[in-house]
Subunit: 213 residues, 2 copies
DNA sequence: TGTAATGTTTACCAACCGGTCAAATTATCA
DNA sequence: TGATAATTTGACCGGTTGGTAAACATTACA
């Protein structure tokens, strides 16, 4: 009998886990570099070191691979925002949020580009995630920031646009890496630009959010 | 005789100008939404209301269309940075730069996404522009900012990362529009988010760059 | 060990895609 | 107006792409 995909939902064998892992890793590599439409199953198969039909044995369609990848990565991607703590010191919380986001841009640029590609092209596959879990989480943290501002702990500012500003400035170093490198030139070959960025951004946001007399 | 593309370089007829205009407009629409690889000539042809071979009569290849589009748009896109004036008041200059960039994100989001798509996927077609004209312009303006900082007119900060921060925060509202809308929800249906963003960003950068005692 | 389920591959298909060609149509201008 | 050049189109081509069918190989397990 051939009931591969149906059986999978019941119990996963060692082989299944290994292969699905390898496929998703390869899919991340390819999708993040070329976007959904720009990527081909053959490319992913080659990176994964498997044949195309073999990939399609584990994921019925290209879309299914993409979806599985999104689902797996989205949670991790939002972790830094989740750690945002209402009880902590506001300035320290914002500072460490920036730092964590920058570390992710440095260490997981493919994940960042995966979402950037997706959102840039109208988010055809993740609309629900944006309007659901993402919005919910941001609403919650925005409320925290608003409370801080009301209590006079930080300057009065629009919490949503603050979050957007932190997202955009930090993810910029992953998504637009080529541009950043091109502008900075050869002398910033290593990871030094991330430290420079951290210094600049922490200062910008901390000073920019200081309560003005 | 059929010498279409050769003749074009000598003098352009009314029809040629009109059609090339229509094609590039359609190309902007399609390329900005799907990236280079994700776009097809058929899509562009349909948007332009012309047949595919007709398009290829004016632009020999898909790449030629893309290149012509990039060349046409890049100059306009860098205009706000060019207007950055060394003689002006530093805070006012930065403030109006932010404002102009935000206006462009609002009024020309397709142009922004065109470049975002390109850079995100490794800038395969605009590498030269990034390392040449763009870097040159940024170097020049970075020097201006550095001089301001040295003269104590603004806080001491890395001028390159300041420019990156302004780019990323403003272009975010064009490139990640879907996400911004999803998070803000229906209540921000109109262009109000741009005014909120302007208020927030101007204040963030102005206060963040104030000279600290 | 045998056998049924799981995993892999080869060969293939229909749709799509970038691009060509030659014929047909339209504009230009002497 | 007529001839010549410029423009437009339909038919087509070879290569690619997402996906399938079925034969073959391997694993798990009674």
């Amino acid at each position: 009998m051939v009931l591969p995909r149906a059986a999978k939902t019941q119990r996963r064998t060692r082989i299944q886990e290994e292969k699905e892992e390898r496929i998703l890793e390869a899919a991340l590599e390819v999708f993040s570099a070329s976007g959904f439409r720009g990527s081909t199953i053959d490319q992913i198969a080659e990176v994964a070191g498997m044949s195309k039909p073999n990939l399609l044995y584990y994921f019925r369609t290209k879309e299914a691979m993409h979806r599985a990848l999104i689902d797996r990565v989205l949670d991790t991607w939002l972790d830094p925002l989740r750690e945002f703590n209402a009880e902590g010191n506001p300035v320290a919380e914002i500072r460490s949020y920036i730092r964590r986001k920058l570390e992710m841009a440095r260490d997981f640029p493919r994940e960042s580009r995966l979402f950037a590609n997706e959102v840039l092209q109208g988010a055809p596959h993740i609309e629900d995630e944006l309007k659901g879990p993402l919005k919910q989480l941001v609403d919650e943290k925005a409320e925290v920031i608003r409370a801080w501002a009301k209590a006079g702990k930080i300057a009065n500012c629009d919490p949503y646009h603050l979050i957007f500003a932190i997202w955009s400035t930090t993810q910029h170093y992953a998504d637009f890496d080529v541009q950043v490198r091109a502008v900075l030139g050869q002398e910033h070959a290593g990871d030094g630009r991330f430290e420079d960025a951290a210094r600049f951004l922490e200062r910008l946001f901390v000073d920019g959010l200081q309560v003005r007399e």
